[in-house]
């Protein structure tokens, strides 16, 4: 029998995850999630997109159940099936975009679903209001508890979420990229609130892509990469360079058969493209035979730029030239006719008509040229679809099978086939390998490489750094709507690109 140690043991960590595994079908989202949150401490969690941070948070929040590994709360093993259980155990998660009831008051939102009642069983508004006021005083923020939450800034809404967490006496607060949409002053106020919560002995977890914030606020930092725990460091003993190296320190050579291609003339020339609040003064060129990578974090405005170039989204100023001729704004039809193709980010919503057949999906973008004397037949569509499906080795039972019945990788091939069928000069691919299996991924990479070799100009948007670095002749980097870096292949190191994608720069505001 093990003997209990009588001497006061160190307080158990507020929350402890060890080697947690979570997979969705064949895709492993989290290989070994490990993190330890101490009471009275703020812990940063950083990592690239797809490193497994969100999955980890969702397991803690009770949204997902882990497949393996241990999850302890104040030393006790727990297993949440629902978010309600997680909340009851004293865990609060504050998301980037809070979800409040816009027509209710601040106070009502804080006490939603658990309003205090008086002895007649009616909602005790006075008590509710008093407690809300008291919490805001404790947090040191001024907020009218009676105002309707509609129209409040994201920062204020987050404060309300935090107030809700405190009124529930949450001991563990997790903030998932809370500062992404905040201004400098608002960030400062949030940090002040976070510090006061820490001083009350609560454990906080802070997810951010901004190193300056991590260093300003946190005590310890955990780095994740590819679903795995990499390291935990004390903030005082690490540096930005060290963290960047740990975030990207993967072998870039696992992959990508980049074939040498002859680079020709400028085909796509973008100048000063601006849409206020979304992207600003974006300018670059893509040449024939060249793959240009567009890197950056999710939300940096890359997809928006691609959509504006293609014409499905508007832009305010700037110009797009294709093969030397100006491309009119907001007209995808003309863009397609001139040889521009966009394989969009979301294949299920934007790329495919899931309820329509494989055949009609492949031919949707070439429906006009496929018609003879204005008439289009199933026969013509099936013939064209068979050509492109077989070229991309799409696995489907028949051409009239609905696109939605195909696997993710085959759907992606279908979208690629649909756009290659238009025989474009310039191909923009937005996250071409997101959510598809490794084998198909390699096929897509090989295909892109071959297309470039045949003289196509390719702009590849990707959040996966190794993919960008492995495939691209040149790498453009966007951060928060601005182009913050351009690197030739030789100079595009993971560190340089990651730095341009995340760090505040002097010349860009």
């Amino acid at each position: 029998m093990p003997v209990e140690i009588a001497a006061s043991p160190p307080a158990p960590p507020a929350l402890e995850l060890s080697k947690v595994v979570k997979s969705f079908g064949a895709v492993v989202a989290l290989r070994s999630g490990t993190i330890t949150l101490e009471q009275g401490s703020i812990h940063a969690l950083i990592g690239e997109n797809g490193a497994g941070k969100s999955t980890l948070v969702k397991i803690i929040a009770g949204l997902y159940r882990r497949d393996a590994g241990s999850f302890r709360l104040r030393g006790e093993e727990v297993d949440f099936h629902t978010t309600a259980q997680s909340k009851a155990a004293g865990i609060a998660v504050i998301y980037q975009e809070p979800t409040l009831f816009p027509d209710l008051s601040v106070t009502e939102n804080i006490f939603m679903g658990r309003q205090p009642t008086n002895r007649f069983g009616r909602i005790d508004r006075k008590a509710m209001r008093a407690e809300a006021t008291e919490i805001f005083a404790r947090l040191g923020v001024s907020m009218d508890p009676d105002r309707i939450t509609e129209g409040l800034s994201i920062a204020d809404q987050q404060i309300i979420e935090i107030a809700k967490a405190i009124s529930l006496d949450a001991r563990v607060l997790i903030m998932d990229e809370p500062t992404a949409a905040l201004s400098g002053v608002e960030v400062e106020r949030l940090f002040a609130v976070a510090r006061s919560l820490r001083d009350e002995g609560r454990a906080l977890m802070f997810i951010s892509h901004r190193f300056d914030e991590v260093f300003a606020l946190c005590d310890t930092v955990t780095v994740m990469r590819d679903g795995s725990y990499i390291a935990t460091e004390s903030i005082a003993e690490t540096s930005v360079d060290e963290l960047v190296r740990q975030m990207v320190g993967r072998d870039v050579a696992e992959l990508f058969p980049k074939l040498p291609a002859e680079v020709g003339d400028d085909v796509l020339v973008v100048e000063g493209l601006t849409r206020t609040g979304v992207f600003h003064d974006i300018g670059f060129t893509v040449r024939a035979g060249e793959i240009v990578g567009l890197a950056g974090l999710v939300g940096a405005g890359r997809s928006e730029v691609a959509r504006a170039i293609f014409g499905v989204d508007p832009y305010e100023s700037g110009s797009v030239r294709l093969g030397g001729r100006a491309l009119p704004k907001g007209n995808p039809r003309v863009a397609m006719a001139r040889g521009l193709a966009l394989v969009p980010e979301d294949r299920r919503k934007q790329g495919l008509v899931l309820d329509e057949s494989v055949s009609r999906n492949v031919t949707l973008a070439i429906r006009d040229s496929l018609a003879t004397a204005g008439l289009l037949t199933n026969r013509a569509e099936n013939a064209a679809a068979a050509v492109w499906a077989s070229r991309l080795e799409v696995k489907t039972a028949a051409l009239d099978a609905e696109a939605g019945t195909l696997s993710g990788g085959n759907q992606q091939k279908l979208v690629l086939g649909k756009w290659l069928a238009t025989r474009p000069k310039v191909l923009i691919v937005d996250e071409p390998t997101r959510g598809i299996d490794v084998g198909t991924k390699a096929e897509v990479h090989r295909l892109l490489s071959e297309l470039a070799q045949q003289g196509m100009a390719i702009l590849m948007i990707s959040s996966e750094l190794p993919e960008v670095l492995g495939m691209a002749d040149r790498v453009l980097v966007m951060r928060e709507g601005y182009l913050t870096g351009e690197f030739p292949r030789a100079e595009a190191t993971p560190e340089a690109v990651m730095f341009a994608a995340t760090a505040e720069k002097e010349d860009a505001k």
């Binding site: 995808p332 949707l364 026969r379």
Partner: protein, 358 residues
């Protein structure tokens, strides 16, 4: 290109071949909603011929087709509109407005042909108003056309008050009632057939038609494929207004009667028939031959029951039940199919879990 698939291709980069269709031609032809509605229509006709007295008289055919001709006509553009997941509730009011215009202009001494063309153009204009509000201003078609349903009807009634104009050139009224020589089929079926063929080609055999289905199933993906969604819908509402205007002129001549309240409530008959014909109210599904069968089914059933002495409220109940059943059966079939697909998916998942081949 119906190449036959050989044994599964090995791991090398061989050219794959595909079956064009998962089912045999017979199954594709016979196992679908359109075939079911046509079958039901034939069954109703067969039963009526057998048991309803006078149903087999040529006059029955003539009156039946005359009466449902406006519905048949308007159902054509309505099908295209519903395929794009929109709706036009103002069509019956446009029929009324067009009827009133025909009457007023004829009474004012215009040559009838000119009056009729003007009335049709008023219908076109009504379609432009709908199309503008829906695609340029960006309002939902349900709300817009509920509004213009009242608006156009209001104008029609306002122009003529409670009076009716019944004086029309005999040449034209006779023409409207004329049959195709040697048949009991009314002459209006000739322009209808021309329009029906035109709309069928447009919907089923043109790039434009393909874009309508794409819009109905996934507007965003359609826009990403170069479909000008706004312009497409605008055009459909203009077509709908124009055809309704034409139907209004026919309606006026058939009954020698121009009144503001002509064809009140017809929009619901049209939409009911379109849905019965297999067009999904959620867009993206349906075919024109099914819709025509749907209109004929409702018309034939009503006609047979009337001849059998059933009162019109009972007929309404029966038509209503039929419509509800058809919608329920569609959902039921979709649900069964989803279950089957997910069952197959599970099986596939299970086999994928076994060790993968290199």
């Amino acid at each position: 290109m119906t190449a036959t698939a050989p044994a599964p291709a090995p791991d090398t980069r061989t050219t794959r071949t595909y079956e064009a269709y998962s089912h045999s031609p017979w199954r594709r032809l016979l196992v679908n909603r359109e075939a079911a509605i046509i079958g039901l229509l034939l069954a109703v006709i067969a039963v009526a011929l057998a048991v309803v007295p006078n149903f087999d008289s040529p006059l029955t055919v003539t009156y039946l087709l005359r009466d449902i001709a406006p519905i048949l006509l308007i159902a054509l553009p309505m099908t295209l509109i519903i395929v794009t997941e929109e709706i036009d509730l103002s069509v019956a009011s446009v029929v009324g407005l067009s009827s009133v215009m025909t009457g007023i202009l004829t009474q004012a001494g215009w040559p009838f042909a000119l009056a009729a063309v003007t009335a049709i153009l008023v219908g076109t204009l009504a379609g432009v108003v709908n199309g503008f509000l829906i695609t340029v201003v960006g309002l939902p078609s349900l709300a817009v056309t509920i509004g213009t349903l009242a608006l156009f009807r209001g104008i029609a009634v306002g122009l003529l008050g409670t009076t009716a104009i019944t004086e029309f050139p005999e040449f034209w009224t006779d023409l409207a009632k004329e049959n195709i020589p040697g048949t009991p089929i009314p002459g209006i079926m000739i322009p209808f057939a021309v329009l029906a063929i035109g709309f069928a080609i447009l919907l089923h055999f043109t790039p434009f038609g393909r874009s309508l289905y794409a819009i109905g199933l996934n507007t965003e993906a359609a826009a990403f494929s170069g479909v000008d969604v706004g312009r497409t819908k605008f055009l459909l509402f203009i077509l709908s207004g124009t055809v309704a205007g034409f139907a209004g002129v026919y309606f006026t001549l058939l009954y020698s009667n121009a009144r503001g309240d002509n064809a009140t409530g017809m929009e619901l008959q049209v939409i009911a028939a379109v849905l019965l014909g297999g067009v999904s109210i959620f867009g993206g599904r349906g075919a024109l031959h099914g819709v025509i069968a749907g209109v004929l089914l409702i018309g034939t059933l009503g006609s047979a029951l009337r001849l059998a002495g059933v009162t019109s409220d009972i007929i309404n109940v029966i038509t209503g039940v039929l419509l509800v059943l058809s919608v329920v059966s569609a959902s039921l079939l979709a649900w069964l199919r989803r279950r089957r697909i997910s069952a197959i998916g599970k099986k596939k998942g299970a086999s994928a879990a076994s060790p993968p081949s290199p």
